[in-house]
Amino acid sequence: MADQTTAVIVRSTPRASRGLWRDALRRLRRNGPAIFGLICIAIFILGAVLAPVIAQYDPTIGNLASGKQGPSLAHPMGTDLLGRDEFSRVLYGARISLTVGVVAVLVGLAFGTVIGAIAGGAGGKVDALLMRITDVLLAVPGILLAIGIVAWLGHGQIQIMLAVGISYAPIFARLLRGSLLALREAEFVVAARSIGTPGHRILVRHMLPNALTPLIVQATLALATAIIDVAGLGFLGLGPGDPRIAEWGEMLTDSARFLQSAPYLIFFPGAAIVISAVGFNLLGDGLRESLDPRLKR
């Protein structure tokens, strides 16, 4: 009896907090949609990594005689116009979409963080100048900016990564600058200054880590749009530029003409784009909720 009482008491005391990140992780685990998103992403990452193992056919070699076949046991997603196995192409497409998407977001983060940190850290005229430039870039729709950059730099994967990345940089820059400005007057920053901590150290060690969470959330959400943007560029004929490379967007363009005769050719790459984008979106939202201290229970 006594033992039972103790057990109840022990269980009812709130679990000890173990730092910001572990707490966030715990909250994330209880967030159903975020876990669903994480599973979607995990499937795609596994598919991309294990593509050579899973895929039965070479995604670049086809047999014209067996073109445009519907889904079957041999070809679970059918074959495309040139007789290439659609399933293998979707798997290899995941490699392109994920790497290009991730690198593009990292490029955007790198540019955005540097610009935002300089603007938010320096303030004054530097801030005003950088933010006006950012405003101009933000005024142009992201995909249009990316198209312009690809048109300027030419076709190729690296160009796409740069183009999509640069079109995201202003968003990250603004977000970081805003957080830094708010943090500049935060009491712990004034407190750090009051004990003589040098300015650069305050920026790097005190302000940036505290401004990081909105950036992480935004980066996760940006991954979703990056996958769509990369596919969009591919669809518009501004993809990697090599018709042999399986890229979801280009696969859509190639099959759009056969929408009536072979709808599965549109369906599978389209579904791949939607599911991976939704996965990142759900994860991003979940991260936002679990990292926001105001929702802490």
Partner: protein, 380 residues
């Protein structure tokens, strides 16, 4: 020579709403080992004065527009930013009001304390850590070795303020500025923290400037008190003197707005009516005039200078024999101070003269705003 000597300090903020006259010519001295209280309502320039001393005013709005701050003989308003940075923490440290927000939430206590120590002393991480443990022990945090690895949110408010005190005293500064150090804490914890603060600063004969709006706190902690109002020092005296002989109507008002247990049933609480003045207007006359029951016509047009209570007395600015000074044209007598209102036959608080009303109206301000009317009180 005094350790700290603030002379005629003027601080203004340039904001979108116009110029804020935050500190309007404040002068005071502080000796080694002395504890000085700065008392006044919120927004009367107490914190700004001290942020200006450390040159930590919010940028780019806040500016020191006049005066000097001498610390050990050097004018802090003139030294370079890098020597100012070395001085912060090492010579002058600060404790802030809210221990919830003055520690960085993403760094452990260890990281923050080691960083503070290593910012000024060339010691190894291990040595800094040992020192941090010592400091935590000193401020009474149990099991400091394990608590070092904790994050700020794992501490209670009182414990966090203890950590702040440990950090502020880590480099044994000569001057500690405590900005409302106990306002955010429970009453029982307040007493503990104040006790600790008093003990530690007395041991090292650290000078302390204690900013507070709580007269009960200053009574037990300080040797001298500056009463501030709207960016002016309106009365200054040693603590026993100020409590025994308050003379400025604002000080009298402050003392009468605290409930006292030993007060008789017939002794009512007399709140100070009205609100502090809008600091966007350049001060003309005494800033307390609109709320003052003792005001005379001169108060509306001329700011009284800070002068010794006993006219012609030689002024001592520090120590237990510091001169009682106040800035008032028509201050309260001893009897009036104890009752909290003017007791003179036929005396009526002077209404603002026509020139003042016109000047206010010309500046687009409602002359009646913030004005407290006093009836025919006198001796009843």
């Amino acid at each position: 020579m005094a350790l700290l000597s603030v002379s005629d300090l003027i601080v203004r903020f340039r904001t979108h709403d116009g110029l804020i006259h935050a500190v309007n010519g404040v002068s005071f001295d502080l000796d080694e080992g002395e504890t000085l209280g700065l008392v006044g309502e919120s927004g009367c320039g107490k914190s700004v004065t001290n942020l200006a001393v450390l040159r930590l005013l919010p940028q780019p709005a806040g500016r020191i527009e006049g005066g000097a701050v001498y610390f050990e003989g050097a004018d802090l308003t003139q030294v370079s930013e890098s020597s100012m940075r070395e001085l912060r923490g090492r010579d002058i440290a600060m404790i802030f009001q809210d221990p919830m927000t003055s520690l960085n939430p993403v760094l452990t206590i260890e990281e923050q304390m080691v960083e503070t120590i290593r910012a000024h002393r060339e010691v190894s991480k291990a040595a800094a850590r040992t020192r941090a443990i010592e400091l935590l022990e000193m401020v009474g945090i149990p099991k400091p070795e394990t608590r070092l690895r904790a994050f700020p949110h794992q501490f209670s408010g009182g414990m966090r303020q203890r950590v702040m005190i440990a950090m502020a005293l880590a480099l044994e500064p000569k001057l500690l500025i405590a900005d409302e150090p106990t306002t955010a804490l429970d009453v029982t914890i307040q007493a503990q923290v104040l006790d600790l603060l008093r003990k530690l600063t007395a041991e090292r004969s650290t000078s302390v400037i204690l900013i507070t709006h709580d007269l009960g706190v200053v009574a037990g902690m300080t040797q001298r008190i500056n009463v501030m109002y709207a960016g002016f020092i309106v009365e200054t005296a040693t603590t026993p003197d100020l409590f025994a002989r308050p003379r400025h109507p604002y000080t009298v008002g402050l003392l009468h707005s605290i409930p006292r247990l030993d007060a008789g049933d017939d002794e009512p609480l007399i709140p100070i009516e009205g609100v502090p003045p809008d600091l966007r207007r350049a001060p003309v006359g005494c800033p307390f005039a609109p709320r003052c029951a003792w005001r005379i016509e001169r108060c509306w047009t001329e700011m009284p200078p800070l002068e010794p209570l006993i006219a012609g007395e030689r002024v001592t600015t520090t120590g237990p024999a510091a001169t009682h000074q106040l800035a008032c044209w028509n201050y309260a007598t001893a009897v009036e101070a104890s009752t909290g209102q003017p007791l003179r036959d036929g005396f009526v608080a002077a209404p603002p003269p026509a020139t003042v009303i016109e000047a206010l109206a010309a500046a687009g301000v409602d002359p009646g705003a913030g004005l407290v009317e006093f009836g025919q009180e006198g001796r009843s």
